[in-house]
């Protein structure tokens, strides 16, 4: 009789525990927090942190979440190190990972090996989800195929005909070169020269002087912000007057900060609507401002937020178990989020059909349709 009484008391205590103190569940954020593209990583880190804070403040949540933050430095070797660190830590249930495609490509295999379900928040190379069928890897942001299609069509629509392409020679830059060139061929644009450059390169004077002699109307750049800043700045030094057209890799406040007034008129394309026009954009911006983070969320912040929420929703539903969370994430369909409904295809890739066109105007990335360039008050260098 005594035994029964003790067990009953124990059971009562155990049942009462979750009410008194919730279990803590750990998830990991990985992104570039130092190095040239750190602005994007820090903005996304803050956004993921925001998602965790909002969830922890919600009395209905079953668990208390703790965000482990790791820095991949946008370097594949470091990315593999930190991914391994997170994936081998059994207290970490899931991850919100990677901005740099080259890093994501290197790290996906680690997630497969150690069965850590992750949701990619910023890398845009299609191969991250499509190359290998890794059930652990999901992605909420779109791929570079769509943005390059829009980029080519839009520019052809503005009557530009001659392009020079500069791309970095990582998987990321090569991917942009490939998809942009394919799409441009479809709309009848001509590429007068293609230049692969290393991601660390400092001097572009030789390439740009050669480009100057080829007289392109547009310079397309497939790469990330630091190189974009250098190339745009050296274009000016060498008197190259072409339009500068980038990719989602340069849509960041750091690009404008690095160039000052020279950034004016730079074009770029990114999947998803601008933050303030997203379904949950206003709420996101309000909450973000409330936390008084030192840095802005940057363009992929909302995706990192949505990825973190998605991961936590799955954990809430099936409990802190990697395999169950993976299965739950795999079957995500029409999941409401601040970036719109998330539906994963057979490669766990979210379809983000909308591509937004941006132009730098007065020190800000402005949606093309809202810009003075679209209304004809300002104009880009003529074709």
């Amino acid at each position: 009789m005594k035994v029964v009484a003790v067990s009953a008391a124990l059971a009562a205590v155990l049942l009462a525990l979750p009410v008194a103190a919730k279990d803590t569940v750990r998830i990991v954020f990985i992104g570039p927090l130092t190095g040239g593209v750190s602005a994007n990583g820090i903005g996304a880190r803050n956004s993921a942190d925001l998602a965790v804070r909002v969830r922890n403040a919600d009395p209905k949540a079953k668990y208390t979440y703790e965000l482990q933050v790791l820095d991949d430095e946008c370097k594949p070797n470091i990315g593999v190190q930190v991914a391994t660190k997170a994936a081998t830590d059994k207290t970490i249930i899931a991850g919100v990972t990677h901005y740099c495609s080259a890093v994501a490509m290197a790290a996906v295999d680690v997630y497969r090996k150690f069965s850590l379900p992750v949701v990619v928040w910023g890398a845009v190379l299609p191969d991250v989800t499509y190359a290998a069928d890794i059930k652990e890897v999901h992605r909420v942001n779109g791929t570079m195929i769509n943005q390059n299609e829009t980029a080519a069509r839009f520019m052809a629509g503005l009557k530009y005909k001659r392009w020079a392409v500069i791309h970095d020679t990582t998987d990321y830059g090569k991917g942009h070169n490939r998809y942009f060139s394919e799409q441009l061929a479809k709309v009848g644009g001509e590429i007068v020269g293609t230049f692969g450059v290393t991601a660390e390169q400092q001097d572009f004077s030789a390439e740009l002087t050669k480009i100057k002699s080829l007289k392109p109307e547009v310079i397309y750049f497939g790469g990330l912000t630091p190189l974009g800043v250098r190339i745009r700045s050296q274009m000016d030094k060498l008197g190259v007057k072409a339009v500068f057209e980038g990719t989602s890799g340069i849509v960041s406040d750091a690009y404008i900060e690095g160039l000052g007034p020279l950034a004016e008129g730079t074009l770029a394309f990114r999947e998803g609507a601008p933050t303030e026009k997203l379904p949950g954009g206003r709420m996101f911006i309000e909450q973000y401002d409330k936390q008084k983070y030192a840095d802005p969320p940057e363009s992929y912040g909302p995706f990192a937020y949505a990825a973190a929420v998605l991961v936590m929703d799955a954990i809430e539903k099936v409990g802190p178990d990697r395999r169950k969370v993976r299965a739950e994430l795999n079957k995500t369909r029409d999941h409401e989020s601040i970036v719109g409904p998330i539906t994963f295809d057979d490669h766990r890739q979210n379809a983000v059909p909308l591509i937004t066109k941006f132009v730098v105007q007065d020190g800000k990335w402005v949606v093309w349709e809202d810009s003075l360039y679209a209304t004809g008050k300002r104009s880009l260098p003529k074709p």
């Binding site: 230049f195 692969g196 450059v197 400092q202 001097d203 004077s205 030789a206 390439e207 250098r230 700045s233």
Partner: protein
């Protein structure tokens, strides 16, 4: 090819060459007086650039707004601090090991360079990020057909060339230069003749490092940007340039700097394949040059170093 473009390529190459030559002269001076390879020199160059940047920010905070004063302040700070750093490296790391195998000096300076680089990365505020370097030179340009002549580039070129000529005169026309050359030729005999060995070595390291600081500032002004890792490539290139020209030979280092810049420009412009391989091409050419003239392009038979 259009003559304007040829001129533009030439100008780009010259600008690169000036920076490389300034770095290479440092390597060659150090080798000249002590027969050592100072592998942290690239990072000393980077340190000079960051000192200049910090000085500009500091002066700006103190209320200085005039570009020429900012520039002078930055240059003086960079040159003085970096010269002291160079002398410090010589005094603490190189001289104590002067009698040990050269491999030890190579290794210890390599480590010192890494420590310096990582220190800037960790202790400079957000040191991992590329830092915009202020544009302190006049901004205009003259367009001559397809050639764009920018005033700032012309000024930087002139400053670099003047510095190189000044070092040459210093070494060949002054008593200090005579002392440096004497120590380079035969340290023991020089000591017997009353030339202070230690002081001469420290002065040489200070001079080489000051030139490196100038290279760092020119680099920052030219690209409007500095990064903590810029010493890595610049160091490798500067060393290669010094070797092409003949280690220990100042004229050779200068020639080597311009040769390397020329190779890079040719690699990017004239080769049919993508410019991503321009460094592969340039360094491969260095291998060929060194195999062909192991003692360097300007090596003299009776090696008078420096």
């Amino acid at each position: 090819m259009d003559p304007g473009l040829v001129a533009q390529h030439l100008l780009n190459g010259l600008m690169l060459g000036v920076v490389y030559a300034l770095v290479a002269v440092g390597f060659t001076l150090f080798f000249g007086v002590l027969d050592v390879i100072q592998f942290s020199h690239g990072d000393v160059v980077m340190f000079g650039a960051f000192t200049a940047l910090a000085a500009v920010i500091g002066l700006g905070a103190a209320g200085v707004t005039s570009d020429p004063i900012l520039l002078m302040g930055a240059l003086i700070a960079a040159i003085v601090v970096t010269a002291l750093l160079g002398a410090f490296v010589a005094r603490m790391l190189v001289l104590p090991l002067a009698k040990s195998p050269p491999l030890h000096v190579l290794l210890i300076t390599l480590m010192a360079g890494t420590a310096l680089r990582e220190a800037v990365r960790v202790f400079y505020p957000q040191g991992s990020n590329p830092k915009p370097f202020p544009r302190l030179l006049p901004d205009g340009a003259v367009e001559l057909g397809t050639l764009t002549l920018r005033y700032d580039v012309l000024i930087l070129l002139a400053v670099g060339i003047v510095a190189i000529v000044a070092v040459h005169l210093l070494l060949t026309r002054t008593r200090i230069g005579l002392a440096v050359r004497a120590v380079a030729q035969d340290a023991e005999t020089a000591s017997v003749l009353g030339i202070p060995f230690r002081t001469t070595v420290l002065a040489t390291f200070a001079l080489g490092s000051a030139l490196g600081a100038l290279a760092g500032v020119v680099n920052g002004l030219y690209y409007s940007e500095v990064t903590f890792s810029l010493g890595l490539t610049l160091g490798a290139i500067g060393f290669a340039a010094a070797v092409i020209g003949g280690l220990g030979n100042v004229g050779g280092a200068i020639v080597g700097g311009f040769v390397f810049a020329g190779l890079q420009t040719i690699g990017a412009v004239a080769l049919p394949f993508a410019s991503a391989y321009k460094d592969v091409f340039a360094f491969a050419a260095v291998i060929v040059l060194v195999a062909w003239r192991p003692a360097g392009l300007l090596a003299e038979p009776s090696a008078e170093r420096v």
